[in-house]
């Protein structure tokens, strides 16, 4: 199927046109790339019938025609050809499979100290770019990495699969800043070893269709992760955050806080899975999702999913979607603040605890300012 050299074979007739246009190059593929191709061949491009893609019509982009083109490599990142995947997501999930199947190599980042990369998207219409990148933080080291993207074309798609390995006693603070008007899929899969620490803050300031996937698996005890997210959707933006924290071993802690602000006719999706496997005793798992809708026609789809198979755990989750506090708004207005200023102030305050999670002061200040600007423009 995927080995024919003309891309992946589509079984369903409805995807034939897609098959013609999305053709990966026929270069020699490694075994995991063949696995990815064959996964794609079997499942095709997900429709909204798929639970994972229920609110995010990614297939529409393919149906409108997407030409696969070699993506521009990330500046400053070396391409490797002889490394193996860190996780098995290429074999079980659409975006990772797409990126792995279409890759000509793996971008490798050995993270230590401060670094920053930019994920560039295509500058032409109806173009698909895919990239596969690995980030490794070796034992005992600590890294701070900022990933920025600013994707433009509303008929193109840039898909990135980023695998991260945080080795024993290592730590990584990851900041993702997405600004743009185009379509972007960013799937991050993290493997954490014993005693490691991982913090991710994903800030999405808009986009026609943005799909963020963040999957964290604990493979060694005493590890912890902190996942923060903030999105601001306006117009007809669709911002989708899917997270999965998989507690496979005992004594790990996960803490998750995702917030969204929806204006206009925008759509937001939050799907947060926390799995606590049978052996993962003494797990702490917390998840919060809070959304504010300020647009009359905006929609938020929030779905926390906790699956707990161990019996000695502390887990909680909560999800709320509401409107701005009318009382607070009136209070501010009664002091002379106009609706726009008052709304901006309240929304900035709403975002505050996510911004406060940023360890790097420079980034924190940059984000406060960006968010303040965007928030006052939203109302």
């Amino acid at each position: 199927m995927g080995e024919t050299g003309t891309g992946w074979g589509m079984s369903a007739t409805e995807t034939i046109s897609v098959q013609k246009e999305v053709i990966f190059s026929s270069k020699e593929k490694s075994s995991f790339q063949k696995e990815a191709s064959s996964y794609l061949a079997n499942t095709g491009i997900p429709t909204r019938k798929s639970e994972e893609w229920r609110y995010t019509p990614i297939k529409r982009l393919f149906d409108a025609g997407l030409r696969h083109e070699d993506a521009r490599a990330i500046d400053g990142v070396a391409i490797q050809n002889d490394i193996e995947p860190i996780t098995d997501f290429h074999n079980k999930s659409f975006i990772p499979a797409l990126c792995v199947a279409g890759a000509h190599g793996i971008g490798l980042i050995e993270s230590e100290g401060n670094s920053e990369i930019e994920l560039i998207g295509p500058s032409t219409s109806n173009t698909l770019w895919t990239r596969y990148t690995q980030i490794r933080v070796t034992q005992g080291r600590s890294g701070n990495l900022v990933i920025r993207s600013n994707v433009g074309h509303t008929t193109s798609l840039v898909a990135d699969f980023v695998e991260i390995s945080v080795e024993a006693d290592a730590s990584l603070e990851l900041v993702v800043i997405e600004q743009g008007t185009g379509n972007q899929a960013l799937s991050i899969a993290v493997r954490q070893d014993e005693g490691s620490r991982f913090t991710a803050t994903t800030v999405t300031l808009g986009g026609n269709l943005v799909r963020n996937e963040l999957n964290v698996a604990f493979e060694g005890p005493q590890a912890e992760c902190h996942l923060y997210g903030l999105f601001l959707a306006s117009g007809t933006d669709l911002i989708d955050n899917h997270t999965l924290v998989d507690h496979r071993v005992p004594d790990c802690t996960s803490n998750e806080l995702y917030k969204g602000v929806l204006a206009g006719k925008s759509t937001g999706v939050f799907n947060g899975k926390v799995y606590v496997q049978r052996d993962a005793q003494r797990t702490n798992g917390f998840q919060q999702n809070r959304n504010i809708i300020i647009g009359d026609q905006a929609t938020m789809n929030s779905k926390p999913e906790l699956e707990i198979y161990a019996d000695d755990v502390k887990c909680s989750h909560g999800s709320t979607t509401g409107q701005l506090d009318d009382e607070a708004l009136f209070y501010l207005r009664s002091r002379g603040l106009g609706v726009v200023e008052a709304t901006g102030l309240l929304l900035t305050a709403f975002a505050d605890d996510v911004v406060a999670s940023l360890g790097n002061e420079e980034i924190r200040n940059e984000m406060s300012e960006l968010i303040r600007d965007r928030m006052s423009g939203l109302s």
Binding site: A328, F330, R335, G336, E341, T348, A349, D352
Partner: protein
């Protein structure tokens, strides 16, 4: 929605420099009056007018009323986590200045003004560096209302049961703040359930409100009489009349 008539013909004129106290039993419409004047949209004004220096208040958005010089000290000040008192007040003060055609205050000048006002009303620093009212005690919230009033220097201030839930020390601070701000240009409406506050803020006039109307007006002695005889006295007189 069940619409209910709350204010039923209410006439009051407050001249610059005057302090009017409005007293009355629970449910008489005192807080509704305050809310309607400040522009809370839960109420519909079915008739009548309200003016500030001849300008129609009811035509204005709440923020415009504030910029024109109306101030409401809330009975229940709202907690706004994440918004610092400082940012909030700076924005508010500069909005008012803009409305009056004045330049916004620079950070340094704002701070100087802030300190000067703080000193005037004797409100301590640690309140103002926190988020708006977040985690404040009842007394701290009311002090913060008075501080905001000092910052905004309204022409007409309405204090809605600012004394409720205050201990005697907080009451004294609040009253002292109001007295410091009292001058010949400003008008005050002090809404209260109890006479106690009026020992500290001595009113020029006292009005008794019942069932959406002013049923008696007088000077500060009326408040004492009311304290002595209770609101039942007014109700019975009304029924008797």
């Amino acid at each position: 929605m069940g619409a209910k008539e709350i204010l039923k013909g209410f006439t009051l004129t407050v001249n610059p420099g005057e302090v009017h106290a409005i007293m009355g039993p629970n449910g008489s419409g005192k807080s509704t009056l305050a809310s309607v004047l400040a522009g809370r949209d839960a109420y519909e004004v079915t008739g009548g007018s309200a003016t500030l220096e001849g300008e129609d208040l009811l035509e204005m958005e709440p923020e415009v009323r504030a910029r024109e010089g109306l101030f409401l000290a809330f009975q229940y000040p709202v907690e706004i986590p994440g918004v610092s008192n400082m940012t909030f007040l700076k924005t508010a003060v500069n909005e008012v200045r803009k409305h009056r055609g004045q330049e916004p205050l620079e950070a340094k000048d704002f701070l100087a003004y802030f300190r000067e006002r703080q000193k005037l009303v004797e409100i301590d620093t640690n309140l103002v560096n926190r988020s708006v009212n977040e985690g404040f005690s009842g007394g701290e919230k009311k002090k913060n209302e008075v501080f905001q009033m000092a910052m905004l220097q309204p022409k007409m201030a309405i204090l809605d049961e600012t004394d409720s839930g205050l201990d005697i020390d907080a009451l004294r601070v609040v009253a002292n703040g109001v007295n410091k701000l009292r001058n010949k240009d400003k008008g005050f409406i002090v809404i209260t359930h109890y006479q106690r506050l009026l020992d500290y803020i001595v009113p020029d006039f006292v009005h008794v409100m019942y069932d959406g109307r002013i049923v008696r007006s007088g000077t500060k002695e009326l408040a004492l009489e009311l304290e002595e005889k209770g609101y039942e006295w007014v109700k019975q007189e009304l029924v008797g009349a």
